[in-house]
Symmetry: C2
Subunit: 328 residues, 2 copies
C-alpha cells in the first residue's frame, strides 16, 4: 500500500511536492488543501481533489503524512504545531534562530497525539545541516563555512520592493570566488560578511522615480545591504520578466579541519548544490523525509524529529539489502 | 564515564584511531592489541598498554568498543565476525562486492551475542556511501558519479612492485578534469573507464632492469592499467623517499538529476574530500561511528549495521539541543 500524502498550500512548495511524488513508486497524492477558494486552484495530478483547508481534519483517516507548505514567518509557527495534533507532518521551517522554540511547540503536539513530525526539512536547513553534523562529528578540530548562491534571496528582494518608487526587484546573493578558493585551499580564512558574499540587484522603477536616490537607499539599507558590496542594475519590466523569473539557487558547505599529533594534516570536505529550481529541490528533500516519517510512525517512534534524528536508510525506497549491494 | 576504546592492529589505521580519540572528550583508549611482539610496538598515549591480541578476550569487561584495524583482503573477513561475538566492533571493510557476505557473517555473530557492530566505515565505503544514499533518496531520477583521487592506490602500487626488476613503486589515481567539469556542469556524460581517471606511476628500478620493457609491462597490465591512460616515471630511491611517501587522497561524489513535469530542471549535488592523510581521515570517521555503536548498544540495538542505519545525531558529542541550535 502506498503512503498517502496530503499537501497543505498551493504555492511553489505545494507544486513541488506534487511533482516529487511523481518520481516515487511508493507514494500517492490524495489531496491538496488551500486557504483560497479551491475552485481557483488547479493541479497537475488527475483525479486528485483540491479542497478547502477547513476540511482538512475530515481527512485524518485518508492521509498518512501531511506536507505543510507554508512560509516560515507566519504560517508554519501556527500550522505545524496545530496539524501535528492530527497528522504526521513535514515542514521546511527555515528561521534558524527560532528552530528550538518551533521544535518544542511541534514536539508537544506530536507527543501528546502519538504522531511523528519532522521539521526544518529542505536544503538549508536540511541537507546543509546534515553536512555540518557529519563533518563536525568527523573533524571536531575544524571550521565550518557556509556560502549561499548564486540565487535569489526572497527577503532582500522584498526589502527593495518596499522602497518608494520601486515597481519590481530581484536580489541575487553571490558567493565571492576568492573566499571559496581560500576555504577550498584549506587556508581557514577569517572572513567578514563583505568578504563572503556580494549582492546584485535588478530593479524596475516606477515612472518618475530617481535611480540615484533609490540606489543609495538600497546600498545603505541596514541589516540587508550595508555590510555588503552591492551592485544595482535598473532594467525595464520586459527584461525583468524575461531574465529574472529564475528559481535557481545553490550553495556550499565546507568543513576544514586537521588531524595528527600536532594537527599537521589538513582535510577539506566540500558539499555543494547547483539547483535549477529551489522549490522543486526543497520539496524533493521533503518527500524523502515524508517516507521516513511514515516508517517512524509505523514503528511507534512519535514526537518531533529533525534531519539529525533520521537514519539515511529510512529515506529510500530500496531495501537495506539493495542499499548495501548498490550504494555502500 | 568515557567510552572505552580498544584498538586491534598497530598499522596506519591503528595509529589514526589513537590520534582520533585525542580529539574527543568522551572517549578513552584502554589498550592496543597486536599480533606482533607487544614489546616491539610503541604508542603515543601514556599509561596505555600494548598487549598481545591473544589476550584480547580477557578484556571484554574493560572495552566498550573494539576498533578492528585490519586489512579487507584477509584480516577483516575473519576478525570482525570472530570479535563481534565478544565486543561491540567497528571495521572499515572496503571490498564493495563482498559487503553483503561480510554483513551476513558479522550480523550472525553480533545478533547471537547481543553486540553492536558497524562495518564498512570510512570514506568509501562510508562518507561516499552516505552521499550516494541521501542524494539517491532526494533525486530518484538521476545519475551517480564517483571519482577517486588524487591519491595513492595501494593495490596498483603493489601490482607494479610485483614486476621483476622493480625495486619500489607508487601509483596515483587522478580524476580527469574534463570529466569532472562535464559532470559538474550537469551534462550527464556517459564516461568510459579511460575518460574518468588517469594513472601516474613512479617506479624505482633494480640495477640492470630495462625501463622500456617494464613500462610496457605496466601500461598493458590487465585489470589494472590496460583500460587507462597511464604515465610511468622512473626515479631514483632518494627522490622516491623524498616525494612519494604521502598519504594524501580524496575524491568526488556527484548526483546529477532532474525534477519538473518534463524533467526540465537540473540539479547537481557534489561532495568532495581533499585529505592530507587517508588513514587519519578514515579513522576520524570510525571513531565517530564508535560513539554511535556504544549508544546503540546501550539502547539494546544489537546486530550488524552500516552507515545507512545510523542517525547522524548518534555521531556527535553535542546534545540534540545543541545540535538544533548550532548545526541545523
Amino acid at each position: 500500500m502506498k503512503t498517502r500524502i496530503g499537501i497543505l498550500g498551493d504555492g511553489n512548495l505545494g507544486k513541488g511536492i506534487e511533482l516529487a511524488i511523481r518520481e516515487t513508486s511508493d507514494m500517492e497524492l490524495v489531496g491538496v488543501f488551500t486557504r483560497r477558494d479551491p475552485s481557483t486552484v488547479s493541479i497537475q495530478t488527475e483525479n486528485v481533489p483540491v479542497c478547502s483547508s477547513n476540511e482538512l481534519l475530515d481527512w485524518q483517516d485518508k492521509i498518512d503524512v501531511l506536507i505543510i507548505c507554508g512560509g516560515s514567518a507566519t504560517d508554519l509557527p501556527v500550522q505545524t504545531p496545530e496539524y501535528a495534533k492530527y497528522f504526521n507532518v513535514i515542514d521546511s521551517f527555515d528561521t534558524h534562530a527560532k528552530i528550538p522554540q518551533h521544535f518544542a511547540n511541534v514536539n508537544a503536539s506530536a507527543v501528546s497525539a502519538n504522531k511523528t513530525a519532522i521539521i526544518s526539512v529542505g536544503w538549508d536547513p536540511g541537507m546543509f545541516s546534515l553536512m555540518r553534523a557529519y563533518t563536525n562529528a568527523i573533524l571536531p578540530n575544524g571550521k565550518d563555512y557556509t556560502f549561499w548562491g548564486k540565487g535569489v534571496s526572497q527577503g532582500h528582494s522584498d526589502a527593495i520592493r518596499r522602497i518608494e518608487g520601486v515597481a519590481n526587484a530581484k536580489q541575487y546573493t553571490i558567493p565571492v570566488d576568492e573566499a571559496l578558493a581560500s576555504v577550498r585551499n584549506g587556508e581557514n580564512p577569517e572572513l567578514t560578511t563583505r568578504q563572503k558574499h556580494t549582492r546584485e540587484c535588478f530593479v524596475v522603477l516606477k515612472e518618475g522615480a530617481d535611480p540615484k536616490k533609490i540606489e543609495e537607499e538600497i546600498v545603505t539599507m541596514q541589516n540587508y545591504f550595508d555590510e555588503y558590496d552591492t551592485t544595482v542594475h535598473f532594467i525595464d519590466a520586459e527584461e525583468f520578466a524575461k531574465n529574472h523569473s529564475t528559481m535557481q539557487h545553490g550553495g556550499f558547505v565546507f568543513r576544514s579541519g586537521s588531524t595528527g599529533i600536532n594537527h599537521e594534516n589538513n582535510h577539506v570536505i566540500e558539499f555543494s548544490l547547483k539547483l535549477d529550481s529551489n522549490p522543486e529541490f526543497t520539496t524533493s528533500v521533503m518527500i524523502a523525509f515524508a517516507r521516513a516519517a511514515k516508517r517512524l510512525y509505523d514503528m511507534g517512534s512519535y514526537g518531533c524529529k529533525t534531519v539529525f534524528d533520521i537514519a539515511p536508510a529510512m529515506l529510500l525506497e530500496q531495501s537495506p539489502e539493495e542499499m548495501r549491494s548498490h550504494l555502500l
